[in-house]
């Protein structure tokens, strides 16, 4: 499993782990082969004794070192270059030590008379101690340098500890029993296996995680492509709808006007009235189309607001819609500071103001007052449109911003309302990254209060 992943990956720690497992396998294989040869053929591979330092200790310590580096690699994320240097230096040191041990062993074999046990050889003991040091270092790093909730922390510490038991038992055997206590040797047996299984589990889980991540990535890439397609279709629709809806409306409006102007001959009063009705309905449909397309454009993520640093007081004063209030006999009061500047999309803001005013006028009787106030703040500014109209029942307030929602459908339809005005207002507030809320009391009036940040250029996407 590791080899197949090894051939695909370029992650260093997986590579080290593969080398470690490979070397350990070779190490075990050789030991097993030698023992089996002895058991089944009585043949003792005596020549092997001469290369014991390399074959037995060198292989083992190198694999332990590689294991330690492989399974602590992730903890040295930020010091990769230095850590890689440490690894190569350590491996070279082990190699050099092995060579020295090998040479020393050959010399010992030639100079010492009689049987000399490898277990008593100084280098053997050193290798055992070296293994212990390496594993203790790995455990230390995982206990003290890893975050509490690092993945697989416990498994890896257990794995290293398992291997540690092996070498501690060996050391105990050497020091206390002069390498004679065979029970201690047998006791070692399960631990390397346990350790390897635990390490293998970690690698397996990592590979599974990686596969899952890749799957999720592919899924989200597909989703993004789909969303782009939908967005593109929506934009095309808006562009086509713009033309397709307005063309018949234009034709109807023109011929109605020509009829009224008597370009098609004389008309009587009843016919005149009918034409007026048709004209009104055409206007209503036009407004509906405009509002819907506006809302669509605002909602489509491609809408690019034209935000500029503006004199807000001037923008509020310049609004033309106040005339409509005065026509109905409603008083307009402007409660504005002397100076107020901020980042707004002027055209959209005017539209917002007109929509709020239009609502206020609709629901306020002649003699009433509409107050527009603005207040400057440090990072934000606020403004409100308040009327002394009939108010909105509390139960209906949460739905006000919904598309096509009208509190009093009969009345608003008659006055040319589309139910989209407040949706558009909400969208415009959102483009400006602001907040809007409503306060209303039945019979007393309604206020729309909006808070906007002054500085938008930095926050713009």
């Amino acid at each position: 499993m590791l080899i197949s992943e090894f051939l695909r990956t370029d992650e260093p720690d997986l590579k080290y782990a593969t080398y470690a497992f490979a070397l350990l396998s070779i190490h075990r294989l050789i030991s097993v082969l030698v023992i089996m040869l002895k058991i089944f053929t009585g043949f003792e591979f005596l020549q092997l004794i001469t290369v014991l330092p390399i074959v037995h200790n060198g292989l083992e310590t190198t694999s332990i070192a590689l294991l330690a580096f492989a399974f602590t690699y992730a903890l040295f994320n930020h010091q990769e270059k230095r850590h890689n240097k440490t690894i190569s230096r350590s491996l070279i040191a082990i190699l050099v030590f092995t060579v020295i041990a090998q040479i020393s062993w050959i010399i010992t074999l030639y100079t010492v008379n009689g049987a000399f046990r490898y277990e008593d050889f100084w280098a053997n003991i050193c290798f055992v101690i070296l293994n212990i040091i390496i594993i203790c270092w790995a455990i230390y790093v995982w206990i003290f340098k890893a975050k509490r909730n690092s993945k697989h922390r416990v498994t890896i510490i257990l794995a290293f500890s398992s291997y540690l038991v092996v070498f501690l038992l060996q050391l105990t055997n050497i020091i206390l029993y002069n390498s004679n206590f065979s029970n201690l040797q047998v006791a070692q047996t399960p631990f390397p296996g346990i350790a390897i299984i635990l390490f293998a589990r970690v690698v397996y889980l990592r590979l599974v995680d990686k596969a899952r991540l890749l799957d999720r990535l592919k899924l989200s890439e597909r989703k993004i492509i789909e969303e782009k397609e939908i967005s593109k279709m929506k934009d095309e629709f808006i562009s086509v709808a713009s033309h397709e809806f307005r063309t018949p409306l234009t034709a109807m409006k023109l011929h109605t006007a020509l009829l009224k102007d008597k370009e098609y001959g004389e008309i009587n009063k009843e016919q005149q009235d009918a034409l007026n009705i048709i004209d009104e309905e055409i206007d209503r449909l036009t407004k509906l189309v405009n509002d819907t397309l506006d809302l669509s454009k605002l909602e489509s993520k491609k809408y690019r607001s034209q935000i500029s640093h503006t004199d807000i007081v001037k923008v509020i004063r310049d609004n033309q819609y106040y005339l409509m209030a005065e026509k109905k006999g409603i008083k307009i009061v402007l409660n504005l500071p002397e100076k107020l500047e901020g980042d707004i999309d002027v055209a959209k803001f005017q539209q917002l103001l007109i929509n709020l005013l239009s609502n206020a006028i609709k629901f306020t009787d002649a003699g009433g007052t509409i107050t527009i106030s603005a207040k400057d703040g440090k990072d934000r500014w606020s403004f409100s449109v308040s009327d002394t109209g009939r108010g909105i029942p509390r139960s209906k307030i949460p739905y006000l911003f919904n598309k096509f929602y009208q509190v009093d459908t009969h009345m608003t339809r008659n006055q040319g309302g589309t139910g989209l005005g407040l949706s558009i207002v909400k969208n415009i507030v959102e483009i400006h990254k602001g907040k809007i809320r409503i306060q209303s009391k039945l019979g007393q009036g309604t206020s729309f209060i909006i808070e906007l940040p002054k500085n938008l250029k930095n926050a713009k996407n």
Partner: protein, 122 residues
């Protein structure tokens, strides 16, 4: 005001007819229902004013406008662009490409007459 030659470039027959009635009292009207015919007729009659719809089959309105402006004899004809798009940027685009005026659909007969009056006075 003298009678001028007006070329109406519009693929919607009903709108073209209405425009013709609106301006027909005061001027001589000619019609073209797509971009290619528009160029042909323009070269033939050399109109004083061209009412140019932007959404046209065969050659788009912007294209026709551009070609008219390149043409030696036609660069002095006044072009009034008519379109359903009403964003400031579309208006700016129209002016940039060489239109003399820009009206958006739907419009009233008086708006069209006013536009023609305006460009003829320029």
């Amino acid at each position: 005001m003298t009678r001028k030659k007006i070329l109406i470039v519009e693929d919607e027959k009903n709108i073209a007819k209405a425009e013709g009635i609106i301006l027909g009292k005061d001027h001589d009207i000619h019609y073209a229902e797509d971009g290619e015919i528009a160029m042909q007729k323009a070269e033939e009659i050399l109109p004083d004013v061209i009412i140019l719809d932007l959404m046209l089959p065969k050659r788009g309105g912007y294209d026709v406008c551009f070609s008219l402006r390149q043409h030696d004899q036609l660069k002095n004809s006044k072009i009034i662009m008519v379109t359903a798009k009403n964003q400031p940027i579309d208006r700016a685009k129209g002016m940039f490409i060489g239109a003399d005026h820009y009206i958006t659909k739907p419009f009233l007969p008086e708006e069209l007459r006013e536009a023609v009056r305006k460009v003829l006075d320029q």
